[in-house]
C-alpha cells in the first residue's frame, strides 16, 4: 500500500502542475458564480436555484476532471514510456495502477472539497448534513466515471475512452427513460436491451439527488447506503478489469 501511496502522491503533484486542472478549477468557479447570479435574478427562489445549479456545476466539474484524467493518466505514461522507469523499480503493475487511481482521487477530493465548501457558504444552509450527503453522492459518481475511463483506456484511445465516460454517464441517467420508451414500443427486443443496459451500466438515475427538493425533504438513508454499495461495486469491478488488462499489456 505504501508504494501505491508514493505513486499516488506523485500523480497528484503531476496533475496539480498541469494547466488542465486549473482550467477545470476556473470552470467550476465560473459555473458556481453563474449559479449565484441566476439565483439572484429569480424571484423568491434564490436558495433553490443556487442549490440546483450549484450542485450541477459541481457534478459537471468533477465529471470533466474524472473522465479526462482517467482516460489519460496511464495511456499518457505508456505512450511517453515514462512508466518503464517506474515498472523497473520494485513495484508491481497493480501498485502502479492503484497509485495512479489514488492520485486522481486526491485530485478530485481537492476539487470536490473546495467547490462544495464554497457552495455551502453561498447557500448559507441550515441543512448541513443533507447538503454534504448529496455532495458526496456526486463525488461517488465521479469516482465511477474515473474508474470506468481508466479501464477503457487500456483497449481504446484516450479520446474514445473520454467519449465512453461521458456516454456512460448520460446513459446511466437515461436508463429509466429508455426502459419506459422500450415498454411503450411493445418490442421485446427493445425491452430486453433496456433491461440489459440496466445490468451493465451504473444506475445513476436512481441516485440523482442534486436538487433543493432533497435538501428540504431529506433522503432515505437505506437508499443512500444502497447507492454507496452500488457505486463502490462498479468502481471495484472497473478497477479489477483495468488491473487484469494492464497486467497483460505489452508496453511496446
Amino acid at each position: 500500500m505504501r508504494l501505491a501511496l508514493v505513486i499516488g502522491w506523485n500523480t497528484y503533484r503531476e496533475w496539480m502542475r498541469e494547466k488542465f486542472f486549473w482550467v477545470a478549477v476556473a470552470l467550476s468557479f465560473l459555473l458556481l458564480s453563474l449559479s449565484t447570479v441566476l439565483g439572484q435574478l429569480t424571484f423568491a427562489e434564490e436558495q433553490k436555484i443556487l442549490m440546483d445549479f450549484g450542485l450541477s456545476a459541481l457534478e459537471i466539474s468533477l465529471l470533466f476532471v474524472a473522465s479526462f484524467s482517467g482516460a489519460y493518466v496511464v495511456s499518457k505514461e505508456v505512450d511517453k514510456q515514462t512508466c518503464l522507469l517506474l515498472l523497473s523499480r520494485p513495484i508491481s503493475r497493480t501498485h502502479f495502477l492503484l497509485g495512479k487511481w489514488i492520485g486522481l482521487i486526491e485530485l478530485l477530493l481537492l476539487l470536490f472539497a473546495t467547490c462544495s465548501l464554497v457552495l455551502w457558504f453561498l447557500l448559507d444552509s441550515q441543512e448541513t448534513s443533507w447538503f454534504f450527503l448529496i455532495a458526496v453522492s456526486v463525488f461517488l459518481k465521479a469516482l465511477v466515471i474515473l474508474s470506468f475511463t481508466l479501464m477503457t483506456s487500456f483497449f481504446v484511445r484516450p479520446i474514445i475512452s473520454l467519449i465512453f465516460g461521458v456516454s456512460i454517464y448520460l446513459v446511466g441517467h437515461w436508463l429509466s427513460d429508455l426502459s419506459y420508451f422500450a415498454q411503450k414500443s411493445h418490442s421485446q427486443v427493445y425491452v430486453f436491451l433496456a433491461d440489459a443496459l440496466g445490468y451493465i451500466i451504473p444506475q445513476f438515475y436512481r441516485f440523482n439527488w442534486k436538487s433543493y427538493y432533497f435538501l428540504e425533504k431529506g433522503i432515505d438513508l437505506v437508499v443512500y447506503r444502497s447507492m454507496g454499495v452500488h457505486y463502490l461495486s462498479w468502481v471495484l469491478i472497473y478497477l479489477f478489469v483495468a488491473d487484469f488488462l494492464f497486467r497483460r499489456k505489452d508496453i511496446v
Partner: protein
C-alpha cells in the same frame, strides 16, 4: 554466478492492416555473469530493445524463461537492478532532486540516507548544480544523465542500459563512459545495448550479438576479435555467418 539467464525467448507482434504476425525475437538465449560488462550489439530493428523489454517483463514473451540471480523477476530482486530506457522520458514536472527522491521512495521505506546518496550521485553525473531545476528545462544529455543517476542511485548489482550513449554530444559520451567505468570498478554487472561499436570495444569484456531477432554470438570480446582488425570487421563477419 549468472546475474541474468535468458532461455528460449520468443515474441511475435501483429502489425499492419491485416495484422500479419512478425516474429521479432526468435529463441533468444544468453546469460550475463555478475560483475562483468556485456555489450548488446545489433543493427536498428534487430530486437535489442524488445529483448530488454522482454527481460524486464514490459512485454510478455510468447515463450521462454528469464531469471535474475537464479530466480524469476520479482519485487525482491528488482531492488538489485538499475535500468535506463532508450529514450529516458522522465517526469518533467519534477526537479532532479524530487525525481531521485521519488525513485528512492519506491525502493526504500526510509529516507535516512537519501540526501547524501542523491547529492553524491548527482555530483557523479555532473548535475549537482542543476539539482533544483525542473527536468523540463534539461537538455537531452542532461536528461540522459538524470536517468542514469536514477539507475545507479540505489547501488544495484546489475545495470541494464538501453542505448545509454545515443544522441549524446562527445562530452556527454565521455562522461557516461566514465560513469560506467566507475560502476565497473565498484563491481557492478553492466548489460548495455548500443550500435556504437567503438564504445563496446572500450567498455565491454563480453558481447551478445543479435541479428534479425536471433542471437548470433555470445562470449568474450577477445574471442570475437581474434583474427579481426576491428570489432566492426568482426561484426560484419558474424552477420555474414548468421545469415548464411
Amino acid at each position: 554466478m549468472d546475474a541474468v539467464t535468458v532461455q528460449g525467448l520468443n515474441k511475435t507482434f501483429k502489425a499492419g492492416f491485416f495484422m500479419k504476425k512478425v516474429h521479432v525475437l526468435k529463441d533468444v538465449s544468453f546469460s550475463i555473469r555478475s560483475q562483468h560488462t556485456y555489450g548488446f550489439v545489433g543493427n536498428n530493428g534487430s530486437g535489442k530493445t524488445t529483448t530488454i523489454k522482454g527481460i524486464l517483463q514490459f512485454i510478455k514473451p510468447d515463450s521462454g524463461e528469464v531469471k535474475f540471480f537464479g530466480e524469476p523477476l520479482s519485487i525482491r530482486n528488482k531492488k538489485r537492478i538499475g535500468y535506463l530506457p532508450e529514450r529516458p522520458y522522465l517526469y518533467e514536472f519534477l526537479s532532479a532532486m524530487e525525481f531521485l527522491e521519488f525513485h528512492w521512495s519506491l525502493t526504500y521505506d526510509s529516507k535516512k540516507f537519501f540526501k547524501d546518496r542523491a547529492h553524491e550521485t548527482l555530483k557523479r553525473v555532473g548535475l549537482f548544480d542543476a539539482k533544483d531545476r525542473r527536468l523540463r528545462t534539461f537538455s537531452k544529455g542532461m536528461l540522459q544523465r538524470a536517468g542514469l543517476a536514477q539507475a545507479i542511485l540505489h547501488e544495484p548489482e546489475l545495470l541494464i542500459l538501453d542505448e545509454p550513449m545515443s544522441g549524446l554530444d562527445p562530452d556527454g559520451r565521455i562522461l557516461v563512459k566514465e560513469i560506467l567505468r566507475d560502476q565497473q570498478k565498484q563491481g557492478r554487472g553492466i548489460f548495455f545495448s548500443s550500435h556504437l561499436l567503438e564504445d563496446m570495444e572500450q567498455l565491454c569484456s563480453h558481447l551478445v550479438v543479435i541479428h534479425q531477432g536471433e542471437i548470433i554470438y555470445q562470449g568474450s570480446i577477445d574471442t570475437v576479435m581474434k583474427d579481426q582488425k576491428s570489432l566492426e570487421e568482426a561484426f560484419k563477419e558474424l552477420k555474414l555467418r548468421g545469415t548464411s
